[in-house]
């Protein structure tokens, strides 16, 4: 180990604080959704910060600090927590995909947007817990943490096509969990008078609104 002067440490610490501190809440939120207890999540964030500090020189581009931190956090979590906390709650994927497929393929009266809007935070966490980690983390990194697909590819160390597939399948599985549990969670169903889901026309991020047949 090379001796480091006190002033160099202070400068490095200041830069570290400026770059890392703004992302701590997000790191804690991501960790809290995949650990058994909140204190485990705090430990994971602490471990992440320690590793980030140790490897701070590896961060060449400060604009990439957030994906870099999440990448470390995922390593920390997979080292310490995932194995014990998640497996027991997984629901068979084929069953969830069947539920989703049945829903989108038939004229169900359930308005999915209304059901999802009634999910509280605990239900959301339980639904995410019920799907495999690879799919849940891809969905969360995009939908909750706001990463782009290429950033997620960097974080999870997978090709962008894999990320695309995981997000797509992850949301389908998530929909399967929610649809399957909507009665148990008293989310109910809303009758919309036939057209169901199509009262609000889909719109993508490009602003296009597909016509309905």
């Amino acid at each position: 180990m090379t001796p480091v002067s006190a002033s160099a440490i202070a400068l490095r610490q200041q830069r570290y604080e400026e770059l890392v501190r703004p992302h701590l809440d997000r790191l804690l939120g991501f960790a809290a959704r995949r650990t058994v207890s909140f204190s485990d999540a705090e430990d994971a964030v602490q471990d992440t910060c320690g590793r980030a500090w140790s490897a701070f020189e590896e961060l060449r581009d400060p604009t990439r600090v957030r994906p870099w931190l999440f990448s470390i956090l995922r390593t920390v979590l997979s080292d310490a927590f995932n194995r014990s906390s998640r497996r027991a709650r997984l629901v068979p994927m084929s069953r969830l995909e069947d539920v989703h497929e049945q829903f989108v393929s038939t004229d169900s009266d359930v308005v999915f947007a209304d059901v999802v809007a009634r999910l509280d935070e605990e239900m959301l966490r339980m639904a995410l817990d019920a799907i495999p980690e690879d799919f849940a983390s891809a969905v969360e990194l995009h939908d909750i943490e706001g990463f782009k697909y290429h950033e997620i590819a960097d974080i999870v160390g997978a090709p962008i096509g894999t990320v695309m597939s995981r997000i797509s399948r992850g949301r389908r599985l998530l929909a399967g969990v929610i649809l399957e549990r909507r009665q148990q969670w008293a989310l109910g169903s809303v009758r919309s008078g036939g057209a169901g889901e199509e009262r609000g026309a889909p719109r993508n991020k490009h602003g296009r609104t597909p016509r309905t047949s």
Binding site: M1, P3, V4, I9, R12, L24, D25, R26, L28, G29, A32, E42, D43, V45, Q46, C49, G50, R51, A52, W53, S54, A55, S71, I72, R74, T75, V76, S78, D79, A80, E101, F103, V104, S105, A113, A117, L119, E121, L124, V139, D143, I144, K148, Y149, G157, M164, S165, I167, S168, R171, L174, G196, E198, P202, R203, N204, K205, R208, P210, S213
Partner: protein
């Protein structure tokens, strides 16, 4: 599997055959999430726009994706507490500087260190850094003041604020700015008032002048005041459990080291031994306090 109405609904002059349509549908259906997320190139987006015109199933799936995105975007996240922020700061103070390999890499294999184990690893690394800093400081000080002894092992110098030490420093500044609240003969009363051993400092040129108890953020501490080389020195004796709550201090004590720190107007030296846990404070830089350590030579 789905309600594919594309040919008729779109009024194509040469409808695709069923197999081709189904294959195209399967392909585009896998892209609906990326379509909703705006992650597809314009040409592919236009293809899906067209596909959605005639495919009710895919329109419903697009709605599923949109609904989930809308809800997940609103997911709340916990805020980092002040306590955790302090822990993080202390952990950074105790962490090594040199970059180890595989910090960001793929998950370590089974049997790799846990969070607690890696925490111990930083502390050990931090000991090396602290030793370098402490030895440097000690040698610098000794160059000017040969009378100051060195500790073996060297003291661990914390550079980031440690909550307990900050409390002690603040209490010292208050106590030393006015008349001391006790007398030397109160020592036995103080000993009976606290649930831990209170052992005064031993040094021939040290004169006990007062003793009292104080409250530090809800925790009781015994305070012994000494006159030493025309300087007021306060010894804060606290429970070992409290002292060990601080991660960097716990790591240092586990290695048999003292902990040194500076706060505005206060140098501090702390140790934990069979005779109790003490933090010694004076308006001097901490190396000046080294002779008061039980193992000073």
């Amino acid at each position: 599997m789905s309600e594919w109405l594309g040919g008729a609904a779109a009024g194509r002059l040469q409808p695709e055959d069923d197999a081709t349509r189904e294959a195209r549908h399967e392909l585009l259906a896998t892209m609906l999430a990326a379509y909703v997320d705006g992650e597809l190139p314009p040409e592919t987006t236009a293809q899906i726009d067209a596909h959605l015109l005639g495919c009710r199933r895919c329109r419903r799936e697009v709605t599923v994706h949109q609904s989930l995105v809308t809800r997940l975007t609103r997911a709340t996240r916990p805020a980092v507490s002040a306590a955790l922020a302090n822990r993080l700061q202390a952990a950074i103070a105790a962490a090594p500087i040199a970059a180890p390999r595989d910090v960001v890499g793929a998950p370590l294999p089974d049997g790799s260190p846990t969070v607690a184990a890696s925490r111990r690893r930083w502390i050990v690394g931090a000991m090396a850094v602290a030793a370098v800093i402490a030895v440097t400081l000690v040698f610098n000080v000794r160059g000017r003041t040969p009378a100051i002894p060195a500790l073996q092992p060297a003291a661990f110098v914390v550079s980031a604020p440690v909550p307990l030490l900050e409390l002690v420093a603040a209490n010292f500044r208050t106590a030393s700015a006015r008349d001391l609240p006790g007398r030397a003969r109160d020592l036995e009363t103080v000993r009976r008032a606290v649930p831990f051993t209170v052992e005064p400092l031993r040094s021939t040129d040290l004169q006990l002048v007062a003793a009292w108890t104080t409250d530090l953020d809800g925790e009781v501490a015994a305070v012994l005041a000494y006159k030493w080389r025309e300087t007021l020195v306060l010894q804060y004796v606290v429970s070992e459990a409290w002292l060990f709550r601080s991660l960097p201090m716990r790591g240092a004590f586990a290695e048999g080291r003292a902990v040194a720190a500076e706060s505005p107007g206060a140098g501090m030296l702390s140790w934990s031994s069979g005779q109790g846990s003490s933090i010694v404070v004076a308006d001097q830089h901490w190396p000046t306090l080294l002779p008061l350590h039980p193992h000073a030579r």
